[in-house]
Subunit: 254 residues, 2 copies
């Protein structure tokens, strides 16, 4: 049985402040937790309902993390979700050092993505297209926000997400490819022949790429809209712009 104190400590992890203090974050739902257990991330605690233990395939994982059986009522009290999903893990926030970046492989760069759903969806899409490195500006929402983790559908466990000052990172001599940024104008993304070492930057939902980051860009690109009479959408959602960029960057080799 979970103590009142333990419940309160777990609940606090839905807040950024307490995640930073403890270095821990919450992962919920079968898909996400199973992907987490298969990954290299460190899992501290695992809580599940009896029903989950029987049907989840957890036993087959031969996982070293013991699973504490809790009631659905208890799960409701520690879950960040409106509809709790039978299993909840507490994991250690990974600390990826920007020195570990592999400049030979695809890199996606995010400048000021604030919506946790957008960040999670972008990470999930990156995973689909084989992009394993995402570099975020410090003002991007955190990877470990429960809504971000939820939207990644398990991909948080496979993608390295780095937080660093972008102008410094983009000035590194180690970057071998070209640096592209998505704007409302610029060369059509369809006219670019991308190399594996190229970088694409996606900007903030409302304000796009910041001026300091814009200075580091080799070429501005845009996703062409269909011209037609009258009004049309002013812009694309950031996760959609990122998806089409990744599709052009590396989705076409598959």
């Amino acid at each position: 049985m979970l103590s009142k104190n333990r419940i309160s400590e777990i609940r606090k992890l839905s807040q950024k402040k307490f995640r930073e203090e403890s270095g821990l974050f919450i992962v919920e739902g079968t898909k996400s937790v199973m992907d987490l257990l298969r990954s290299e991330l460190i899992v501290n605690e695992l809580y599940a309902t009896e029903g989950w233990m029987e049907k989840s395939g957890y036993a087959q994982l031969h996982c070293k993390i013991p699973c504490e059986i809790i009631t659905e009522k208890e799960l409701e009290r520690i879950s960040c979700l409106t509809t709790p999903q039978e299993v909840l893990a507490i994991a250690v926030i990974p600390d990826y050092d920007i020195q570990q970046i592999n400049y030979q492989e695809n890199i996606l760069v995010l400048d000021g993505i604030r919506d946790p759903g957008n960040l999670g969806t972008i990470i999930r899409t990156a995973d689909w297209f084989g992009i394993r490195q995402v570099v975020c500006s410090p003002d991007c929402v955190e990877l470990t926000n429960p809504k971000t983790i939820q939207a990644t559908m398990g991909s948080f466990s496979r993608i390295r997400v780095f937080y660093t000052d972008l102008p410094t990172f983009l000035s590194s001599e180690k970057i071998q490819g070209r640096i592209y940024g998505t704007f409302m104008n610029g060369k059509s993304i369809q006219d670019i022949v991308f190399q594996q070492t190229d970088l694409i930057i996606i900007g903030n939902e409302a304000n796009g790429i910041s001026p300091a980051v814009e200075k580091c860009i080799n070429e501005k690109i845009h996703i062409p809209s269909q011209n037609r009479k009258g009004e049309k959408a002013e812009s694309l959602n950031a996760s959609i712009a990122a998806a089409i960029s990744m599709y052009e960057l590396c989705g076409k080799k598959g």
Copy 2:
């Protein structure tokens, strides 16, 4: 000043039941409201703060709908948003008849899209790529859900969204193109040469395209993922799959 009774009536429009009863829905924020006022949709009421009236450009619209000035406190009480956005309109739910479909133009078909954010993002992306007709199965979330309207960023005012039984619609002799459905397998979307009269179907977030709709499909297609060692994302978010499909269907003519 808004009466208690009026506030209560407006608040109720955040619920599907009351939208259906009244035939009305809520639109919030400058971008969405301005797009609404420029559209052919019928607006019944308009509420805004004094600050909005001064800076919004509303006066230049020569709009026949009178705007009632309300305080920020009052706006908070009628808004569906956590952070109310200065202006709120009440509009009549459009009733698009499936008979009005133009089979010569692009049509996107949605089978069981349940997440309001996904539906809104899909409509915004359709608008960007010049697709003006979206046909939804009856179990798709409603266009007029406040979260859907919000995610369209004004595109709800330009795109016709039809709700109808999909197997009946897809059996229509009026359809001149081929019917494609997105699956986890099938022909790569990159190998298809799309015609303007072709239809693409996007399935439910968790279960994909339903068996009854699958029977109507001429060809299964998929968005190729990047093969690499180890685990990868199992699927794409529905709004991402829809965006890449629309990009291939008609984003490349721009």
